[in-house]
Symmetry: C2
Subunit: 193 residues, 2 copies
Amino acid sequence: MLPNPKQMDETLDPRVKRTRSLILESFGSLLAEKNFENISVQDVTDKAQINRATFYAHFQDKYALLDYSISKMFMQEIEKRTLNVCHYTPDNLRNLILAVCEFLSSIHSSCAQPHQQFESLVETQIKKQIFGLLTYWLKQSKSKNSTDIPATVATWAIYGLASHYSHMKKRPALDKFVNEAFPLVAVNLEQFA
Amino acid sequence: MLPNPKQMDETLDPRVKRTRSLILESFGSLLAEKNFENISVQDVTDKAQINRATFYAHFQDKYALLDYSISKMFMQEIEKRTLNVCHYTPDNLRNLILAVCEFLSSIHSSCAQPHQQFESLVETQIKKQIFGLLTYWLKQSKSKNSTDIPATVATWAIYGLASHYSHMKKRPALDKFVNEAFPLVAVNLEQFA
DNA sequence: TTGAATCTGTTGGATAAACAACACTGGAGC
DNA sequence: GCTCCAGTGTTGTTTATCCAACAGATTCAA
């Protein structure tokens, strides 16, 4: 199983689910309006119509909220493609690269002028997720080799590709882009899978 | 001031507002699917994602919910036309008749095969609202006459017209319909206003 | 008739959220 | 320097919601 932010949804008190989703919705719509740096905890709780103290019962601060929000959205993207319940195959890797590219692109289109701090926080979270996923894939192979090195290399490569893609002024067709990039990443993983 | 269901929105605990609106939303969308009689309290709380016991902290049973829901929707319709902060004029009366016609029509279009019990509960609630409104209007005139009789006559007439209109197979233009009906109602009220 | 199933309305105790307060920080303007 | 202001993060208490359990009602089928 992949690491899951906080807890399984199933066992959670309905009040907790409700509060968290109110916070996430509010945060998401604020990100569409303003810079992350210009969003205060007050803004979030006002729009979510919850008490400010309640926010702090769930998140340490707005940075923790960003981490959680990014992780959760990304994980949903991964789960939608069932990449969280599989192992390494070239096709799955290809889909993972596609997913990261699309995810970063969608962030850039739905967030107001992403600033540097914001981007770096996103990067940290997403790379953590990718690394976890790749490690999970590689651990399923028979080989006893350490998975850290290849997973690290691939993680950085994938994120770099997606970041590059999402920042291009004139983006080429995603399929074409991934077709070109894919073999370079695959070659690093195949011997371990 | 008109009678207000339960309480002013302003002073209410945010949790109460949230719970009530979850219940109302859930109920509304269930009414679009099924008969009122086939909707259980469980259905409502399941869809609203609240605990069943919480429902009973707000409403005595599903009939109370229907009453509240109908009253609230109707009052919003009235407030939108600012008919709750005015007095008797021919124009206001005309708008009231229009409002009731539209309200009943919209109920019939957004609810699955309204059954007899449902209709009679709606009728009771709406008439109560109309009567309260007309009484409020008439009370503002100088005349010391009792307002009960004219308000009752007009209430039943207005509801009857709207019910008739909303059940017609081929509805005429609402304006035309109201133009014809309006003088008959007005004549009963004008001497008291 | 019996029993299984489903819904009702209610209860007591556990827990999350609301609220009002507090001390603290970091500007902005004077 | 100073004050004012807006935001932060925390606390103790109150209140709303959750939850599991209960007895009773109704329906349906064996």
